[in-house]
Amino acid sequence: MTGIAVVGAAETTELGKIPGMSQLMLHADAALNTLADAGMTAKDIDGLATAGERPTDVAYYLGITPSWVDGTSVGGCSFMLHVRHAVAALQAGMCKTVLITHGESGRSRVGAGGYSQDASSLAGQFESPYGTFGPPSTFTLPVLRYMKDYGMSHEQLAMVAVVQREWAGMNPRASFRDAITVDDVLNSKLIAYPFHLLECCLVTDGGGALILTTDERATNVNNAKHAPVYIWGTGESVETPMISQMENLTSSRAFSIAGPRAMKDAGISHSEVDHLMIYDAFAHLPIYGLEDLGFCGRGEAADFIWERNTAPGGRLPTNTNGGGLSYMHSGMYGMYAMQESIRQLRGVAPAQVQNAEVSVCLGVGGMFGASGCIVFGSTPKP
């Protein structure tokens, strides 16, 4: 099977508050930085995938004439699904060079559509009437069940945010860099019990993009600024548009399918993973992710984090950019998680993990609705 490589990866020039750019321009800014990273122009791209904006808009705006398009939009992990689909398309010869773009005016809302929910949709009929009011009061709903079933404490949930802030402290592009304590987290504003402000993600503007091609072609990308990073494995799934209808309130079915599939695809065991990214819109996500990926047994992830295994100096460095809790979160964070995996394998991350050769990147989307997982390697897939 043909191997697939990432030959371009970059974020928008700025992250955070970008009131001077529309959402479509954030896609373009990220795409232009990524084309420059790969030493390419729009004329080199014949495949396009995006979410948040229509592929039509992004292709037209950038001057791309695609012969392969993917507009899969399942929330913040859409870009992981795009990578998985692009791998298949490239291996099948449907196109030669795929650009995947993300841009989101999550904070400034410039040229961004409003949020609305149809009262006749499933969630509109069976969740919204009870006051679910955006992700902070919905994505968080299963956690008390987890806490009772497994004895996780409020302090342990808070520790997720503390550890990620340690990573963010090493990253000049992170939105929040000042060290925090468990008490700081528990004393921050109550958003939706049991969640405090510092256990909830940021809301920022930004974007990112990737360029994928076959590894055969990757060796001929002459003007790229970095060596290729290789796709070793991929997985995806969806579960339910309603948190109340998750099969199990203490585990994500989509995680449990996408994650193990990607690792099996890659042919790796847990001990071979040098670096891990788990999309952390809220503090419980790394806990669910560590268990659903199989790095921890059921009910063990909070202790694993408390004992600093995922922290700087720990044996499984996780969310090393500071994550959605401290680095940035535009709304669809999955692209930034993959950017950090790629920086780590390129050896250019601000908080660089020594000798990082294999990175697992787990995304979530539409709250617990969907998941995509990518295993990246610094060398061609063995």
Binding site: Q117, F126, G131, F133, P136, R145
Partner: protein, 138 residues
């Protein structure tokens, strides 16, 4: 009229029987005639075995508190922090709801506490199934 009403559901042909039931103080669930799977939310086929042979029945209205959050962010339809709950019905399915007749505090909202349905009229067309602690007649 004071504060705006909470967002109300707009029934579809597949869910109309459920909302009609709520207006008559009946919590209607569906059971597959072929595999006996009981499910929610409503749809005219079994999500477990794909059979279209399904029947509507009236549930007991008994449930337990599976999980919740207490939302502290301002919602146009609520004046005070309020709990959004996931309840587990005695018949098996879970559903989102609110807990009434009970202080909206972690001390009063204890996981696995027994609950019973209580329908509240929200409009001419919609009554919502809410839940109160079992044994509380208020």
């Amino acid at each position: 009229m004071g504060k705006p009403a909470r967002p109300l559901p707009k029934p579809t042909p597949e869910t109309q029987h459920f909302w009609d039931g709520c207006k008559q103080d009946e919590l209607r669930l569906q059971r597959c005639d072929d595999c006996e799977h009981v499910y929610f939310p409503p749809r005219p086929f079994c999500p477990s075995c794909s059979s279209r042979a399904v029947s509507i029945f009236i549930a007991s209205g008994e449930a337990t508190l599976a999980s919740y959050v207490i939302n502290n962010r301002p919602h146009p339809a609520w004046d005070e922090p309020y709990a959004i709950a996931i309840v587990e019905l005695a018949e098996g399915p879970r559903m989102a709801s609110n807990i009434v007749g009970c202080e909206q505090t972690p001390e009063c909202l204890v996981l696995d506490m027994p609950l019973v349905v209580q329908f509240e009229v929200m409009s001419d067309d919609i009554s919502l199934p809410l839940f109160r602690p079992a044994g509380d007649q208020t």
